[in-house]
Amino acid sequence: MAEIEILDCGAATTIQDAGRYGLQRFGVGPAGAMDRDSLAVANLLVGNEPGEAAIEFAGIGGRFRVASGEIRIALVGAEAVLSVDGQPVAPFTSVTLRAGDGFSVGPTRSGMFTVLAIAGGLDIAPQLGSRSLHMRAGIGGYQGRGLRAGNTLPLRRDAVDGDDIALIDPPLLESGPIRVVLGPQDDHFTAEGVETFLASTYTVSQQADRMGYRLSGPKIAHADGFNIVSDGIVTGAIQVPGSGEPIVLMADRQTTGGYPKIATIISADLARFAQMRPGSQVSFRAVSVQDAIAAVRSHAKRLAALRDNLRVAGTIDLSSERLLSLNLVGGWVSAAMDASEGAA
């Protein structure tokens, strides 16, 4: 079977899929790709199921070599350049490589996370139902940990069929406030506290990683202390500890926690939020649960409909001029990032 050798990669480079569900009652959080939309699109470009395990990069990319066989890859997510033997690959396009070829993922220019999907997937056994790395538990990923120089990743296929694929008219990320559903503990805050949360602009602090994003900005007033008896958490929950500044709990979060959660980011906006790097401005808008469910359903439909936008690569004009004119160079994050960073 084909193999990819890692020559070099950032310390936070990990294997992630759509997450590990069913074990939260045992204290095992879901982990999984921070940007599930990019995971789905990258997998689409190489003919995989949307939740197939891929390599996730955080900020720093990596250098690789095809050690054996023939592989097909695609990079989607934050703004970073995939290059093959020094030549950049057009965004939203798969590329086929042979034994001896080198490729690299450049540093992230805007956004946080990039996903590299590999046709046929990695030949690494799932652990407890998923290939996602759960760092604290030492399960999933590559032998229970992140990827490092010198690792060799076996693939489930030795060769690929058909042509490389490009996605035409990729969806631009939405801009504007991140939508939330208030609760489960919005009643642990004063009315002014909830108003502060919804009316203010927050900045993503340097403390932003797979566990959570600490935001800085106006302090949110609790009604009656900041400790609660622990209860369950979902990804995207926004807890407010004693400091009054919110923390958004992300894929590597704990399963239970003891701070009141003022609101929860809706599923349709979670990938967009995950791509906000330190320094980004973010504001929140409350929607109803019904609106949130309508949003995630139409979001899922739009992602599924991208299948109709696949074309054989090379049959469409993907010149850099055209991409520049669409403001699409480097993936779909840049336009929305510009919008949110410009909102300061």
Binding site: G232, T255, V289
Partner: protein, 242 residues
């Protein structure tokens, strides 16, 4: 049992929390565990998983196939006939080496309550605990049922690292730490049992709602049992329900 009317709290578009109350209490926990068990038997379509806690049950659902409204009706139907969890529970006998390097706070806690170390071990190990919930880390057990006479406020200065298997108390809670972790709890002892061991055929030993009793173990036996546990033996005994 007469039910306080539980609250349904939205956790975005992927979960609801059924909140029975806001305190740590055996009654609220029994309701959360009771609903958890009832839901598992009922297998309501669209429910992905549940997370029982001291006082609530988080119910995660798939928003592409169901809605909170759709699952609320069957949940309310189960609540109407809910009894706090009874019947055959699993009970675990968990070996613990108390004191010394295994439980560095044992003497301090005994002194604080003006009792002997042996009396503290007796009070801690003779209680029958209920596993109220797992959380924080994989396999990390929060236990209800600590003898109130040895309840001890948490340390003001949490330790950055405490060993895997630590048996500790904090306030009126007790725990079994599954992995090395920061902790502000008082360390009374240590068990060689691994509540979570990914390489073992049975990855998790203890579930919420199980019962736990502790069996004091002489320090000389630590090495042998720890070795056996590392090789995949449970070390803890699963005994019949109480």
């Amino acid at each position: 049992m007469s039910l306080p009317s539980p609250r349904f709290l939205a956790c975005g578009d992927t979960a609801v929390t059924v909140e029975f109350g806001r305190e740590i209490s055996p009654e609220l926990n029994a309701l959360a565990l009771g609903l958890d068990a009832a839901l598992r038997d009922a297998s309501v379509p669209g429910i992905v998983e549940t997370v029982p806690t001291y006082r609530s049950l988080l119910i995660q659902f798939d928003p592409l196939t169901t809605t909170p409204e759709e699952i609320e009706a069957p949940i309310r139907a189960l609540l109407a006939t809910l009894e706090s969890r009874t019947g055959a529970r699993r009970r675990w006998k968990v070996p613990v080496v108390y004191g010394g390097e295994y439980g560095i706070d044992l003497e301090d806690v005994a002194a604080r309550h003006a009792i002997s170390v042996n009396e503290l071990i007796k009070r801690h190990s003779e209680a029958v605990y209920t596993v109220a919930m797992l959380g924080f880390l994989p396999g990390f057990c929060y236990l209800a049922g600590l003898d109130p006479s040895i309840a001890t406020p948490r340390r003001t200065d949490p330790r950055a690292v405490t060993p895997a298997g630590s048996i500790a108390i904090g306030g009126i809670q007790a725990n079994i730490a599954s992995l090395e972790a920061p902790s502000g709890w008082h360390l009374l002892g240590r068990t060689p049992m691994r509540p979570f061991m990914p390489s073992r055929e049975r990855v998790f030993l203890i579930d919420a709602g199980d019962e736990v009793v502790f069996e004091p173990l002489p320090a000389e036996r630590w090495d042998a049992l720890d070795k056996a546990a590392a090789a995949g033996e449970w070390v803890a005994q699963e005994v019949s329900g109480g």
